[in-house]
Symmetry: C2
Subunit: 465 residues, 2 copies
Amino acid sequence: MSEDEADRDGGPDGANDDFESVLSRVRDRIDPDADERARLRAVAETLTERAEDAATDLAPGADVLQVGSSARGTWISGDRDIDVFVRFPPELDRETLEEYGLEVGHDTVPDGHEEYAEHPYVKGEVEGFDVDVVPCFRLGSATEIRSAVDRTPFHNRYLEERLDEELAADVRLAKQFLKGIGAYGSDLRTSGFSGYLTELLVAEYGGFRPLLEAAADWQPPVELDPEDHGRASFSDPLIVIDPTDPERNVAAVCAAENVARLQHYAREFLASPSVDFFEPREPEPLTAAALRDRLADREATAMAVRFEAPDLVDDQLYPQLRKSLEGIVGGLDDRGFDVLRADTFADETAAVFAELAVAERPAIERHLGPPIHVRDHAEGFYDAYDDDPDVYGPFIDGDRYVAERKRDCTTARGYLESDRLFDVGLGAHVETALEEGYDVLVGDETTALLPEFDRQLGAYFDPRP
Amino acid sequence: MSEDEADRDGGPDGANDDFESVLSRVRDRIDPDADERARLRAVAETLTERAEDAATDLAPGADVLQVGSSARGTWISGDRDIDVFVRFPPELDRETLEEYGLEVGHDTVPDGHEEYAEHPYVKGEVEGFDVDVVPCFRLGSATEIRSAVDRTPFHNRYLEERLDEELAADVRLAKQFLKGIGAYGSDLRTSGFSGYLTELLVAEYGGFRPLLEAAADWQPPVELDPEDHGRASFSDPLIVIDPTDPERNVAAVCAAENVARLQHYAREFLASPSVDFFEPREPEPLTAAALRDRLADREATAMAVRFEAPDLVDDQLYPQLRKSLEGIVGGLDDRGFDVLRADTFADETAAVFAELAVAERPAIERHLGPPIHVRDHAEGFYDAYDDDPDVYGPFIDGDRYVAERKRDCTTARGYLESDRLFDVGLGAHVETALEEGYDVLVGDETTALLPEFDRQLGAYFDPRP
């Protein structure tokens, strides 16, 4: 057990901490002080004025909103994001909206550059803050939205009305807790709790502690509907109906693992509070010698498929890597190469790493034929194998024919190195990357993944909730 | 492909045979000639007279019946069984019946000895024939029977009324065909078609060829009810309601394999008739060199558990061996030692022989815990493994905890040599025999099963329908 783990379970730092004193120490670290608040407010006001001037010059009906955690006082000390939303009248066509939006952005953030999400917008640095200037339509209700950004002002208004100073402080604690346990972020690499979701949960349960106490006892699917207006059904483990949109689950992106993770750590933290829960775990980098030790200790056969990482943003890359991981694991399992555990990593190269409980199979495999009473199929099967000198059988087992025939691949390496790898579902860009070439590493050869993936492999071999 | 197989598929002997000429050649061999019939009739009459004299001396209401294939003209030339049933009035108590039965038996077969099935009876040789003298009650209908033997006279009467000379000849063909394909006999080693069942099927379908044509197209469950009086339901693949007992399936003992086997060979024979179908296949004995070759060719890991054969009759021994086979295969499979195929053999020693696709596993195994939302179980699981230095995890997969813990056995040999072998279902006498000691043979060590099981292993490595 590492020191880090010892602390969490109530080691020297944690044993005598009680809940409130832990929160108080965390607050000291994450609550922005008066100075930080004042600086942020000053910069935000300047930006809002600049944007308003530019926007109303272009469209008299435009206005400007500061949104996001910095607008609602829910940001964590040190976060330096300011989101400025410029709302244009809905009569504007989309092309004009985008043109005006960029113009306002450049006027507001003179050194900014353009980025593209659903719309183009301007991003840049102003007095040490990371500023986004995003155009949207000003609409009467969230159900009229034309794109996801149009929803943000409604989210902002809803939360501003519900989060007082005390709840805002609890939102900060909840965010930091989720960061600490690795479940914060709605990006598709994390698939965790978004900021908006965290704020809704704290508002709905009435604070950080009530949220933890509720989560510890959640029985998924958990369904929350703050406005009691939901009218769609969802299959997610956590369902939080958007107060501004009855057909949207705010927690749709939150994976079952992250719901379970919150449940686990809520219980652990309530049982023995410690500030360590609020610190993201940094996995120890694994050395080649340590990797060899782990492989020898576990006696599984490690394998990796390594290729050049596709040049994609994380939100595109990680879903493709996970699809490829699932496909390759499925291909291995289907051929009897039992996968014990697997993961996927990306940096300059990308890798699907797997440990196999079974890496070799006999020369033959059992091939179960049709029931003998299904005459056409049965005769077809029998005739297909009866004269094959490489086949044992066909013979009868129960009411079916069985033939023992030669396998395509008797080793997992052989399978991974063959074209059959391309028969499984792979992300499109991963498939292209593999077509360019890839390495198959087996056993101690996987040390070639170091040092590039030393922290990922460190985490792999020291798995935690 | 062996020569034997070539013939069956229409080789030199079979290619030009047509159905009727094949049957005619088989009949020449299996139909008893006039001389054999006369000899049997003479002996049977003598026995019947002797039994009648002895029986009526003891109980005036007694009578004597000759039953079985020799009574109905359905015996195969060379079979030398004569069954004499002595029927006593139902007023007799069972003890007196048994006493009288043995007395009549000894008077009828002076050199006979006593055997015990449901009742004691006398068995012995008379002029080269194997004679059974069996006592039973004379009852008004088969539904009044007190034991299985009381049913026999009713079976006999039913078939005598239905089998003319021609059908009796077809019964002989059907029996010989079932012997040839290894599906004849209701003993618990074969679990095949009994003589009575065969006669009923021929009578019901109206001959050997109609039986084959029907069987080729059977869609199990196949239900025949010659007297249209069945009033129980059965889960067997072949259901033939006993014409003398509406609650009995005459084919209850017939395994799915043997139903399928008849279907398979009926099709093959109708497609290319050959006398070879009527000859039981004698598997080639396997030499040690050939066994090693087969093992090398298949690349599976052969294993055998060998022990002293329990001293039981086949009808008790084989069900116990099969139960033990199933238990041991299940135990291996459950631990990830995938069994490719397995069989059990008995002679002086007995063996469970298995080929494993996987004979070794890693030092650790994945242990799936409860869903995290089932709080009591989840906390119990987590606490049980969290502090164990030999365990990787617990971590979260989906909504569950997973721990990777050390395995009990990493090799199939280790498992088979351990006491855990006794955790699986074993036949009672097999368990006792194993407690006395057993050998575990792995790989080429299985050549120690030779020459005792050379034919069984010959059949194993040349599997046919």
